[in-house]
């Protein structure tokens, strides 16, 4: 069993996951579908064009301005959520690495807890929840389609409990594969350290955006790692392979901070360029912090995506 933090679970229960996108599912609930349709929640006006339902014409506006406009509404629906977990070898780093990571130290452990927490929450909310694991070893199932139910939740938890970080995630290819499996508008939550060149996964993110998928990127990083807070020079190597690099952290710390800042900015720009939501998640913070920010941020982003027009 996954050692759940009772405090986290209690705080999660107090939050409501507010979906930002309207989905075309049959399940109406608390989620606001990004798709426009017969709903009670007014969104805005648009100029009347032939084919628009006549009942949506606002006659009072016509009477005042002599212009035909139609009213648009937001429909509520169930939103399938796919949790994408980066299980590459780099995720195993932190204060410890190798084997199945401790859930409270490495980036992978933090990501597992965070993903499981989201799955539990979504299960409580009755949302269809799927899971995709990118990279890693000992993965029973690479992908679980969004479903509901306790059994399904058990499957998710089982996958998470058994995954071992290894290999390369290949985020671009993985996200493309996830996008191909989505049948309707949904939400994709990616938990990753994004240690791949932006040019490799940004196109896949672009593809998800074009499918009107609500993409949320949980960018996990170890502050100690990005600060090169190591006392001695060492030969640094990537668990994913490649030649080691001899480095004296003290001598390059300032330069490395500059590189990190530039990279973080680059990542954020790439995510937000396609209406995705970028959430930096330092692994030295409690799990509740990124969850609160993830779940509360949705209400501030209730607007029409550029693709809806």
């Amino acid at each position: 069993m996954i050692p759940w933090d009772p405090e986290v679970l209690s705080r999660i229960r107090r939050l409501a996951l507010v979906a930002r996108h309207a989905v075309q599912g049959v399940l109406h609930g608390e989620h606001s579908s990004r798709a426009l349709g017969p709903s009670v929640e007014f969104v805005d006006y648009k100029a009347y064009t032939p084919g628009d339902p006549v009942r949506d014409v606002d006659w009072r506006v016509w009477a005042r301005t002599d212009r035909l406009v139609v009213r648009r509404y937001q429909a509520e629906s169930h939103l399938p959520v796919v949790l994408v977990l980066d299980a590459s070898g780099d995720m195993a780093t932190g204060t410890a690495g190798g084997g199945r990571p401790p859930l409270d130290t490495s980036k992978a452990g933090y990501a597992l807890c965070l993903t499981a927490t989201l799955a539990w929450y979504l299960h409580l909310r009755g949302e269809p929840t799927g899971l995709a694991v990118l990279g890693g070893d000992d993965v029973p199932w690479r992908a679980l389609q969004p479903r509901t139910g306790r059994r399904h939740l058990g499957s998710i938890l089982g996958v998470l409990a058994s995954v071992r970080p290894a290999g390369r995630a290949e985020l671009g290819r993985g996200l493309t594969r996830v996008a191909a499996g989505l049948e309707r508008r949904s939400m994709v939550v990616l938990a990753s350290d994004l240690m791949e060149e932006v040019a490799g996964w940004a196109p896949a993110l672009d593809a998800l955006g074009r499918r009107r998928t609500d993409v949320r990127v949980l960018h996990l990083y170890d502050p100690r790692e990005l600060d090169l807070a190591f006392p001695r020079a060492a030969r640094f190597f990537s668990p994913e392979g490649g030649a080691p690099v001899a480095l004296d952290p003290a001598g390059v710390r300032e330069d490395f901070r500059g590189v990190v800042r530039a990279w973080m900015h680059e990542v954020k720009e790439a995510v937000t360029a396609w209406q995705g939501r970028y959430l930096p998640v330092p692994t030295d913070r409690p799990l509740t912090d990124p969850l609160f920010r993830l779940l509360s941020g949705g209400s501030r982003r209730r607007r029409v995506a550029p693709h809806a027009a």
Binding site: A92, K107, P244, A250, F256, V259
Partner: protein
Amino acid sequence: MTGWGFGFVAAGALALAVLALGPLLAHLARQSPVERRAFGAMMLIERLARRIRRRRRIQDPALLAVRLLTVLLVVAAVARPELRVPDTAPRIGGAGRVVVVLDNSLSMSLEETGALPALLGAADAGEGTLLARARREAVDLVGALPPGARVGAVAVAGGEEGPERLLPTLVDDHGRVARALEAVQPTWAGTDLAGALREARALLGGEPGEVVVFTDEAGPGTVTATVPEIERILAAGGRVLPRVVRAASSRNVTVASVAHGGGIEGGSLRVGLAGYGEGSEEAAVTVTLPDGSRMTAFTQVSGCPEPISEGTALPACERADVLFTVPPEVPGGVATASLEDDRLTSDDTRWFHLPRVGPSRVLVVDGDPGPTPIQSEVYFLERALAPWGNQGMGVTPEVTAPDGVTSLDPERYRVVFLANVSDPRPLADALSAFVRAGGGLVITGGDNVTPERYNAALSTLLPAPLRRARNLVSFEVEGGLPLAFPDTGLDLFAPFARGGRAGFAAVRTRRALTFDPVPEEVEARTLLAFEGGLPFLLERTVGRGRVLVLAGTVDLAWGDLPLQAVFLPFVQRLVAFLGGESAGGTARFDGTVGEPVSIPLPGPSHRPRVTDPDGHAVSTRGIPGWIRFTPRRPGSYTVSIEGGPPIAWVAVNPPAPESDVRRQTGLAEVEAAIDPTRLTRRVALGPAAFAGALLLLLAQAAAGWRRLGG
């Protein structure tokens, strides 16, 4: 002045430079850390590596260079490097004793600006010359000396024997020294810097002091001769501070030599010109003969490029020879060859001896003229002297009676024949002076010869006292006493070695003069004798001349000598032997300004007098048999005896090295060669190298501390 230098006191320590291989190898090896650390952001590390790789391309070589420099500086510090820089001259007068040496030699009369030649001796003589500038600078230097400094002054030329002290001792009165310096006049003397430094050293009295030398350093070997004196001055703690005074362009042409040789008419004069310095120029050469006649010719004279090798007495400069043809008859004496040179006029004239050119003049004093020429005592002698008459060839005899002789100038006559003169007493003094001055006297016998008068009047000239003539054979007997064969080993008879020697044996003499034994103190000898040993021809050397006494006659009264074939060559040989080749030659001397001239005297009883070219008496120093004087200016000097004709001529010229106005080895170089460290200040660089290495180490440590975040 010495140049800059660099060296190591402990050069062996440089072997430690191999330590520089340490950082070099470390840099090349660059040991990797042992610890391995898995890192999840290697992508960023790679980005970082690309970022810092460019910087490392610069920083790493710089770090290596700094480390190498550190090691090398440490090694250099151990090797104790030192920089040798020319020392700055201390303020003159700091030692409290200063001697100013002013070069007033001939070369200092070189005009600086090419102005018109200055007339030496004039009130403003030397203005615009090197000496004028040196004088001004010397006076200025004395004026700038600190009060209380004791100052002396020495002129390089001017004394009897060269350098002279302008003041006897060091004085405090700087104005007095300045006035003494201002009074220094140019001279024709050579540059005796060694003597001047010796005087300066004597003035310092063995105490430390500064000798400031104002000179042009001209003349080969002039400066190198000062080495011993400079060594002594340095040993006494003193210093020699040269103040070189040189013209912007050193160019000079001088008459280097004059030689009289054979040729048409009176022979040729080869005047050699020497040019010193760069460039060439046309020179007008004028030869002035003793009789005042002048000849001028032009030639192109090139110069000698600088520098020349030190110590060359007369460097092989470009020379130009000018040939002059001497007139058929020129009186002997001192002539001049001069040229026009507007830079250094003092050496433009060269005085030289020109021997008498033309027929030899022989004075024949006829003691028995007779009623007709053929009955004259000297009839045969006159023909033997001039077989072809007075045609300007060979010997020109002048026949005179004894009372016609007034004076006997050795330059006019080479030989005097006293033929059967009855009373020589009126001629005694003139003859004595004539012979002592180099003339030749031949006394022949005859019935008029009175031995008592001769012995009384010419005792200082006769090889032996005369006795009465006596018959060698009976007059009734034909012929007479024959002569013995002459000794051809004697100079007089040397020409007869090839033939004619037997001719003397054919001479028959019936009567002849006889002689007392030759006194031991008299330098006399028998040149020819009769068979049996009776002297026929005696010789005595008197002064620079000779006296010959012929026991027979030159007419037919006592023998048949005039009729013999050997008579004519014998008479001609007598003239040549007595003065034809050397008349006056022994009385001609050459001298150099500033150098003593010693002349042998014809006899101890004479009191010679030396006059300079202007006719003024020159101070002399007498030593037995010699007279010695030091000419102070060039020209023709005359040595004469009171009341007599000149006995010697001295052609005095300026010292030849003074004409070479090109740059020679300087005093500063000599002083530096003697003691290279004296004019050099040593700056130890070891501490600086060590400090530099320490600073570099600290800088590296600080950089490392900063990198560690300290």
